[in-house]
């Protein structure tokens, strides 16, 4: 039996390492030699039975794996140990059964052992991956528990029934019980796995429900988008109103001009009379009076420059914002000297319109705040212009600011606008929009001498090619 005492631990270790898949290192070889040595030594002591050896083996392997190898998956180690112990036990049992059924000489037992060892090695070689999976998957606890269960019941059967080496009723019953146990374990395991699968499909259903919910949310987002569209339409309508206001303003100017032409003749006549009389004071007084009553200077200059804008989006935003400043009674000037027909580059004109709108709104807001602070409407001033030179389009706006509005050290910090205060959310939005056009748009903003300046340049296509 010494032979088997040597082979059995070797096969055990083989199964253990094969299934675990751990890389073998020097300490593993040292441990193996010690382990086999201890097993052979224990095997030679006749007063110790197999079950006790198994327990010692299990403890040794566990201690080595957990403390020396520092494998922290205790469950996996227990699974591995119980697995190879179970196989070991099965091998012993099968040899015993063979010995009972066939009258085999003692000397050939070694060959049977060898044969069975060889068989087990072959099976493990083929299925070790599958076993490793069982030990690691979500059902591993059930699997390990069943192995332990089968192992202990087999061990009991083996110790009680097979020790007396004869076919007795007790042996037959035990064997059938053992087979029943094994069948039961397999059945239990597969049932557990099936239940798991069912749970899984339930989870899938849950996921589907979740997806449905997501789709709903999507739909809601779409609805919100639609609402936004409606809002935009309203905005367009208000812009339209402003355009209508502009055109009626032009019509009225036309009338004023006609009336002036009519008045002019009369005034000239009466002036002539006064002048001939040498009454210059009266002439000046009359002229003054006429000017004051007939011309509203501010109204006359209301839309100055707008007639040079031929790009309709740029024109309508200018009109809309100018009329806003006018109705807020703010001092402003707007300039567009050159005729502007189009904007260079592949810029979505609506993005540009948004930027212009935001900066005008910012300027108006700050001006109102300034007036509230100083109580003098003349402290506020907004100047804006469109400019086109060499293909570049420029937009500039500046407005007087309160003394303490801008903590300039904060403003000049990189990305300061993302903090969404100081100059308002507006500037952060502008930055976000211009981010799309890094290589076409140049944006500057700074505070200088009580003015906040914002200017934006869209580089012409040629210029961009030069810089590329």
């Amino acid at each position: 039996m010494l032979f088997q005492a040597l082979f059995s631990p070797i096969v055990d270790l083989y199964i253990f390492y094969r299934v675990s898949g751990w890389k073998l290192k020097r300490r593993d070889y040292i441990f193996s030699v010690i382990f086999i040595g201890i097993c052979v030594f224990l095997g030679s002591l006749t007063q110790i039975d197999d079950f006790f050896i198994d327990i010692i083996q299990a403890i040794l392997v566990f201690l080595f794996s957990y403390f020396v190898r520092k494998e922290k998956k205790a469950k996996l180690i227990i699974g591995l140990i119980s697995f190879f112990e179970l196989l070991d036990l099965f091998m012993t049992i099968s040899v015993e059964i063979l010995l009972l059924f066939f009258d085999i000489k003692f000397s050939s037992i070694i060959f049977i052992f060898l044969l069975i060892d060889f068989l087990v090695v072959c099976i493990i070689q083929k299925y070790y991956l599958r076993v490793r999976e069982f030990l690691n998957d979500r059902n591993s606890s059930i699997f390990i528990g069943l192995i332990l269960y089968v192992y202990f019941s087999s061990a009991i059967v083996y110790l009680l029934a097979l020790q007396n080496k004869r076919i007795t009723i007790l042996f037959e019953i035990s064997l059938s019980l053992l087979i029943l146990q094994i069948t039961f374990s397999i059945f239990a395991y597969s049932t557990a796995v099936n239940i798991q699968k069912k749970l899984l499909t339930e989870q899938e259903q849950k996921e589907q429900r979740l997806k449905l919910k997501l789709a709903n949310a999507d739909r809601k987002a779409k609805e919100a988008e639609n609402r936004e569209l409606v809002l935009k339409q309203q905005e367009l309508k208000s812009e339209m109103r402003q355009l209508q206001e502009y055109s009626s303003y032009l019509d009225k100017n036309e009338d004023d001009l006609r009336r002036f032409k009519h008045d002019y003749q009369n005034i000239l006549n009466s002036l002539k009379v006064s002048a001939q009389d040498g009454d210059t004071k009266k002439v000046i007084k009359m002229l003054d009076q006429y000017t004051n009553t007939q011309f509203d200077q501010k109204a006359l200059r209301k839309y100055k420059g707008v007639n040079h804008i031929h790009e309709k989006n740029l024109k309508s935003i200018a009109i809309a914002k100018i009329s806003k400043l006018y109705s807020l009674d703010l001092n402003y000037s707007f300039d567009c000297e050159q005729n502007i027909y189009q904007v260079p580059g592949k810029i979505d004109i609506l993005d540009l319109v948004r930027i212009i709108g935001i900066t005008f709104d910012n300027a108006a807001e700050e001006s109102m705040a300034l007036i509230r602070e100083t109580n003098d409407p003349n402290t506020a001033q907004i100047d804006a212009m469109y400019y086109q030179e060499n293909g570049d389009f420029e937009f500039q706006i500046r407005n007087r600011v309160r003394k303490d509005t801008v903590a300039t050290d904060k403003m000049s910090q990189k990305n300061f606008t993302t903090k969404k205060h100081h100059m308002g959310i507006g500037l952060a939005n502008v930055k976000e929009i211009t981010h799309k056009y890094e290589d076409t748009i140049i944006v500057n903003y700074y505070v200088d001498n009580g003015w906040f300046n914002f200017d934006l340049t869209i580089l012409s296509d040629e210029e961009r090619e030069i810089t590329d």
């Binding site: 910090q413 990189k414 500057n444 700074y446």
Partner: protein, 272 residues
């Protein structure tokens, strides 16, 4: 010191009034040094051009009526100003106008800083404004050469833009090739070009690494161990190994605080 002054107005009364106020200004402003004006006048665009052709002024102060008589579409005070600026680089131009809502923004863009005075019947107020404007003009004339040296210039298209070097904290590259970001004490600007080019043109600025040009005046503290500097606005930049010696010189010159500096995370993500 004697300053050439040129007044162009189609209203003789206005010219006389301006002369009178300038006379008063001579007295008021002659505090530290004697201020004297040699005044020339013109009544219309053509006269003005003829006079200025014969008398080349250097560092003159110009009072120009925006609405010069005649064809208002072309020969306005603005056109005259463009011409003057071409001939007299240091020209201090002051527009006189009757409209409070006069739009100067386009001309500022073309000609640089320009001042203006709104005509008013309140003589006291007019005098106050005029004296103040003249004082600023004289100050600008004095500072002109110094300011020119202290100016960082760059071009966008045909336009040259100027920034006071003292306002610059640093200039760094951006993700877009050829585009640079200039952080100012008062805001930020984007410009085209390369760090090396601007480093060469502006000896007052210091290149601390391949992608960063800084104004040594606006460095707050330095971390020699980790090769970092922080600026007065709180931003932190690394400097390269090769500029260590130069940074030590600057440290000795400007006496920066030395401290351990940590680089802030880029906040680009927070934009979304």
């Amino acid at each position: 010191m004697k300053y050439p002054v040129f007044i162009c107005d189609d209203d003789q009364d206005q010219i006389e009034q301006t002369k009178k106020i300038l006379g008063a200004a001579e007295m008021i402003l002659s505090d530290d040094e004697e201020v004297e004006f040699s005044i020339a006048t013109a009544k219309n665009y053509m006269d003005a051009i003829t006079y200025l052709k014969d008398h080349k002024l250097d560092g003159g102060i110009y009072f120009l009526d925006v609405e010069l008589g005649g064809d208002t579409e072309n020969d306005t005070g603005f056109d005259l100003a463009s011409l003057i600026k071409k001939n007299d680089e240091r020209a201090q131009i002051i527009f006189v106008t009757s409209h409070a809502d006069l739009s100067l923004i386009t001309f500022r863009r073309r000609l640089g800083p320009i001042d203006y005075i709104v005509k008013t019947s309140d003589l006291d107020k007019l005098r106050r404004m005029m004296v103040k404007t003249v004082e600023i003009a004289i100050y600008n004339l004095h500072k002109f050469n110094y300011m020119k040296k202290m100016t960082f210039s760059y071009k966008i298209g045909r336009q040259t833009r100027n920034v006071n070097i003292d306002d610059i904290i640093y200039i760094s590259t951006t993700v877009t090739p050829h585009k640079l970001l200039m952080i100012l004490t008062t805001g930020e600007m984007q410009l085209l070009g390369s760090i090396n080019q601007y480093a060469q043109e502006n000896p007052l600025l210091e290149k601390i690494n391949q992608s960063c040009l800084v104004n040594p005046k606006n460095i707050k503290s330095i971390d020699l161990k980790q090769h970092r500097v922080s600026f007065i606005n709180g931003d932190v930049e690394d400097f390269s190994r090769t500029s260590v010696k130069r940074m030590k010189d600057l440290l000795a010159e400007y006496n920066y605080k030395t401290e351990k500096l940590a680089k802030k995370e880029e906040e680009n993500g927070s934009l979304t």
